[in-house]
Symmetry: C2
Subunit: 297 residues, 2 copies
């Protein structure tokens, strides 16, 4: 298959790297400099084993229309800046969106493509340089059809190797919500407290806030199984206990975070339901303030 990948951050490089072992991958990065480097050096994925693959790379968006499927791996807050580019892609080409949060669903509804999938990523990946990504944690990719359907794509996903597995889900909304809920629990708190994921459970005082935040969040989603959700988030904290969340990394770097895609979306839900969520609100404001603090210093 001819696979296009929009975005060449940690996720773009990881998906480009793995998929290029069997397919013809074309990367669409943001800078000409990175495009040239990717053409010359390919992508190197470093994990338990390291491997290097050749890829094409271009800034020429017309090449998007030559792809069989396109993965969109930019951050949620960058989607708006590429929406016109996406609208010009032929409507027959399936798009796969790999963003955190759920706020972008309304944007996906405006796209002309007949087949759109959304995915949540459970891999750990860190961009080392413009051509190299470190695959820190082997997880899986959850995917679901947002609109349309394709047996061919399902077959393509099911044929991926064990260390880069795709799992198909029937309900995209529930699938995204699970991820968004877990992100809303873990990311902002770890970013504020400057701790690894496991500390939210280990430190008895942080754990109390974790529990209060859970109460506020779960109250917004009566459709979720309360006990299962709690177990799931707690287990995620434990299984990633030595990890720093992406939001903590962003705050440390002084980068923009995904707080609006994650907790901002949840606050929108609370507002729709006219529910008072003081802890979520304060946590949101602290992270927004920290972002601002990083830029005004």
């Amino acid at each position: 298959m001819k696979i296009g990948i929009i975005g060449a951050g940690s996720l773009g490089l990881l998906y480009g790297g793995y998929l290029a072992t069997e397919h013809a991958v074309t990367m669409f990065p943001r800078s000409l400099e990175q495009a040239e480097k990717l053409c010359e050096h390919g992508i190197t994925v470093c994990g338990e084993n390291c491997f290097q693959v050749n890829v094409l790379s271009t800034m020429d968006v017309s090449a998007l229309n030559e792809q069989d499927v396109i993965f969109v791996t930019v951050k949620q807050y960058h989607l708006m800046s590429i929406v016109n580019m996406l609208k010009n892609i032929e409507s027959s080409i399936p798009l796969v969106f790999l963003q955190n949060g759920m706020g972008h669903l309304t944007l996906l509804e405006t796209l002309p493509q007949q087949i759109i999938l959304v995915g949540t990523v459970e891999h750990g990946a860190t961009r080392k340089n413009e051509m190299t990504v470190s695959h820190n944690g082997v997880g899986k990719t959850n995917i679901a059809f947002f609109c349309g359907h394709s047996d061919l794509l399902l077959k393509f996903f099911s044929s991926q190797p064990e260390q880069f597995k795709f799992v198909h889900h029937d309900h995209y909304e529930l699938m995204l919500l699970h991820k968004c809920f877990a992100n809303a629990m873990i990311n902002p708190l770890t970013a504020i407290l400057k701790v690894k994921n496991g500390e939210l459970i280990r430190n008895s005082f942080y754990y109390k806030i974790f529990q209060s935040l859970f109460e506020e969040l779960i109250s917004l989603f009566p459709q979720l199984d309360r006990e299962a959700m709690y177990r799931s988030v707690k287990n995620l904290c434990l299984s990633t206990k030595e990890n720093e969340s992406s939001m903590l990394k962003d705050i440390k770097k002084g980068s923009k975070t995904e707080i609006d895609a994650i907790l901002g979306y949840m606050l929108g839900k609370a507002s729709e339901r006219e529910q008072h969520v003081p802890i979520m609100t304060a946590i949101y404001q602290i992270v927004k303030g920290m972002e601002l603090d990083g830029t005004i210093k």
Copy 2:
């Protein structure tokens, strides 16, 4: 006058230093080593001008009964460990307590002394070493009688120099509450956000949390003038905008903080009134968790 000072941290050294310029001061520090150093070198106070004074210093608590008045400058959370020592001081000797918070008032009720004063400190002071204190900010000391009365002491306080002024207040509870309220607003937030006092006003997101916290706090004290209190705390943030709060300093050093004396007291009030104060509660838990985090790392 013969003045005893229990505790030789930043406040103890500051009060010992200034009062020893006109009076016979005896310091009662916690370690023999510091007692010896103070006897040998006296106290050095560094501010706009630096000066050095001679003091006595001893670990012999029987010398407490030779004093005309005794200042207690230990942190609130150390009061419990000296309560037996205080109970053995002759009941005719006035005691002056200079702690943050209000939780210690119940302890003061158990003391035998006929004259007890409480004070709040608006000076900025940092202990440089066991004999030296830096007087960073010239403020004043507010004092009020907790029990008993003494015209002699009032005269003593009113005769202190401008750069070490005492101001007498009629209502000890209101006086302490003003300080405790301001501390509850500024100290925990700056400790969590790792910012100077002024940032709480300057950063628009932090300011929102500041306002939400104010709403929760003021709801606990219908007797306070809402607008006046808000102005007062906001002005304090501005007038000390380049200062780091004591709680931020404590968290940075990995020391115990005064969170229980300050926000813990406020949470007790909320619990008495059966009022739900989620932001205060979360802020309290974060600071307690940070204290724990500092010790379990």
